[in-house]
Symmetry: C2
Subunit: 602 residues, 2 copies
Amino acid sequence: MNTREKLEHLREWMRTNDVAALYVTSADPHQSEAVAAHWKTLQWLSGFTGSACTAALTLTEAAFWTDGRYTTQAGREVDGDAFTIFTTGIPGTPTLCEWLRARLKPGERLSLPGEVLSVAQLESFRAELPGVVITADGNPAAELRESLSERPALPDAPVWPFPGESAVTPRVQKLAAERAELSRIDPQAAALLTGLEEIGWITNLRGDDHPLYPLFHAFALVGPGTATLFADRRKFTDDIVRALAADGWELRARDAVPEALSALPLETVLRIDPFRTPAGFLEAVPAGVRVSRGPEPAARLRAIHSAAEIESFLEANRLEAVAVIRLMRWIEENAGSGELTEYGVGQQLEHFRRQMPGYLHPGNIPIVGYGANAALPHYRPGPEKSDAVRPEGFLLFDVCAQYRSGTTDLTRTVAVGELTDEMKRDYTRVLRAHLTLARQRFPAGTTGNLLDAIVKSTLWREAISFNHGTGHGIGYVSNVHEGPGKISIELAPAFPWAHATPLEPGMVFSDEPGIYRPGRHGIRIENAVAVEEDTETEFGRFLRFRTLTFLPYERKAILVADLTREEIEQVNAYHHEVLERIGPALTEDERRWLWRKTLPIG
Amino acid sequence: MNTREKLEHLREWMRTNDVAALYVTSADPHQSEAVAAHWKTLQWLSGFTGSACTAALTLTEAAFWTDGRYTTQAGREVDGDAFTIFTTGIPGTPTLCEWLRARLKPGERLSLPGEVLSVAQLESFRAELPGVVITADGNPAAELRESLSERPALPDAPVWPFPGESAVTPRVQKLAAERAELSRIDPQAAALLTGLEEIGWITNLRGDDHPLYPLFHAFALVGPGTATLFADRRKFTDDIVRALAADGWELRARDAVPEALSALPLETVLRIDPFRTPAGFLEAVPAGVRVSRGPEPAARLRAIHSAAEIESFLEANRLEAVAVIRLMRWIEENAGSGELTEYGVGQQLEHFRRQMPGYLHPGNIPIVGYGANAALPHYRPGPEKSDAVRPEGFLLFDVCAQYRSGTTDLTRTVAVGELTDEMKRDYTRVLRAHLTLARQRFPAGTTGNLLDAIVKSTLWREAISFNHGTGHGIGYVSNVHEGPGKISIELAPAFPWAHATPLEPGMVFSDEPGIYRPGRHGIRIENAVAVEEDTETEFGRFLRFRTLTFLPYERKAILVADLTREEIEQVNAYHHEVLERIGPALTEDERRWLWRKTLPIG
């Protein structure tokens, strides 16, 4: 069935139900960054294979929105007769609500998919479309897909205990910590957990529902005396179910959330994160139950890692560094061969990683960009679309991995031949920005937007900037991008609490400034860093970052004369630590190579 | 009548009106920083003479809150038997709402003074005291004061045209600009202006209702076809009334606002700033009129000064610099005399200012702190409380003035004798922070909180900070502290839109970092700076600051070895400009003195 036939079916449903407009999305009920095929309703409807898209339709028109990364792809994949295709953020482009406002009369009905739409999104529709009757009790596009037997089932990969043997805060302690935070809201507070990373955290369980992020589909409800996990029983061994029960957790069917909410005692204060809770769930909450909106306490608790967990992160980064050093050496050896391709770099890294103990799987589709390709921050080569690497300029790789001991995310930009002066100047600028965050002491209470500004101020002085945050939170055998904090001036919709989340000891972030010159080159340098206590003075309590990633910078690209004495010492101390920490895990040849790469500068 | 007798009268009113609790404040309906005696209801009730205070009373108890600056003073001035005295922000201290919550039962009545309470404050009371019946239609404490003939009338100083002869954007253009902004909200949008600085701006009128700020008490209502100024007719000459009428302004009685609001056409969209609009006014708005909440467009327009106005600011700063250079020389000559006192410094400055053309009056009560006194950022000497200046250490003065050509605000910390190494190190740190803002280029769209973090990051590196923003907006022959923007991480309640206000060309701010070591010394350096266009590159549009204040830094306190080459050049270029700009207005002796003070460093 083609897109136009599917749209005709949906319009039949609209006419039958007296609905004037329909909103179709590709979100899941957890507002996950990576959505399972089961929820990719709009991709199924439109044929689009990118990730960012929304659509609206009336009985006579349909419109499709994607962002600048996907404009060309949408033009190729989406039927332009069925949909008007828009790129969000371009001046003059209507927003979805503006488009609807121009088409809907007061009293007409708009249907939103309440099972995947967040409470905040529903309210934003209500505020922007006064007079329109808005319902959020169905998901007709998903139902149509289901009825045509074209909707994949939810993933059914088994759930596994995390971390198995090594140290992690026990499940009972986590539940107690969550309840302690809830009791600060109200003695009768309960929380509905919808983020898969919160659920993985609080249950000490992981899954394989997504090829990149080791999480599983579930919801959870934690009250003063109860803890319920809503998930598919078939994913759990009897041992896990027994262990959960012993720690106070009841396992119920994934679709039993509304039933459980409707049975909440009337004195309950239900904490929900309006940005992550499906609007449809709220309809099941009894009228007498007070709803408290705000960040989910578990999200902050999850992001604060214990000292043992930070050690484990370090171990994961050490394993990944060994694989990446082998990759860097291999790139250097093959840069002049004419055989090296961007895609091949990612393949070769995977080969080296498989030799490392505890390696699970990649944490991203590798970003490997040669030359001008690296100026596109999210460029990813594929088997068919991959440039050859020539022996000149920069090659950038931004790669993430899942190890049993932790999640890693790192970027290096390496010289594969001669560099221009502009390339060296830009590399040195990026390095200085990257070093700024790594050594920046800051008062307790500081939020990430301020740190992003401090890092970028070093570039602003030369009228240079970059269009992404300096850093994002990194999960612990979980998502690569994880809130609630973020080191970013711009408030990303996926991290709605970032500007209200002070950095706290135990939080892990990326430190990844960049400079992108379209058509010329792109440079980014990324380490993972953990927040830790620094000092307390008459001016207050100060925190600092501890670096977790140990890999050489590109000595050939550093203009030592542009660095301060402090920066030169910082690079040399870091390189010394790279050799100390990673050297022992390398062969003698590799160690000699690393020794040369980490020689003092200046 | 003493405090306890006044409280008894108020409690009689409460019993008569079935009111269980009363809130008393010292705010005015404009949420002015400087409140006229007419509105200082709580000071009258309690005997307190400081500025920051609130109080609540029930039939049996009364509590009084002030901040840390005034704790000692409140203990001395306020009857501790009548009021429990609290200092806000101290751990364990109840907030006013917490205090009330512990005393009020559901269904009991709390009376708030709706004529001075903002809409946002009323809503915050409602949110924090669910179940309590809240009324905001009276101001019994002010009425009691009135009935006892103890309430001073509103100031009746005449209104004068601004700026008289020199250039300022004409009144008709300002009204058109305000209407253009309103039309972006809605074609039928009207705005209620309550800030005295907005009213001074849009009418091109000034007044003398306050000894420090040349503004007058009024409200204004601007609609698509009407513009009404609500003020006491006796303050206006017939000429001004005619000029206003010619520019489309009707003058009505100050108390006619509710009547005008109640007559608004039903299609009106009324823009109000919830943080500045008296809650009582909203009750007059017809039910059909839609209220749009947000920053008042005039507040942003007011803060963006034209090139001619910036030139005028420069002229005011030039005049003030001449007076201050005379003061600095006088301090140097008298530092060893044993006669110099903190209070005397402010008196002497006033003497020098009166010799300058266009000088109106001071813009603050001078902050002049010697030694450890300067570690209190708001320390002000008086005729009875003023330390002698000995020939050692630092003397700090932070002084503001009103000239016909502009408002000035500057701080210098000068050596009056030998300095310790710690003093020099701290002075150099403050200077570096101050220079950081002055030379910081930043992208259009940057908000002040980010710039404050960039400035403070230079101190954070040494685990040092200071507890105020790097800068505040400076009015134009208006308030010394003016929004909507502010260069401050902390969101100050008086500047509720600061974090949503990008800096724009034409805005004027202070650049005043400091270091305060209680019991030892306090250092602050302050210039006024104007935002201006810088450059546009492939990375976007960038802005920068232009310095408006030209006065020497303290060469004796600068550790040149702690400065970068760039900073040394910045100081030398600035000192060169001080001599160039201010020298010609000085006597030969003074010019020689200034030449010595502005010799190159390093």
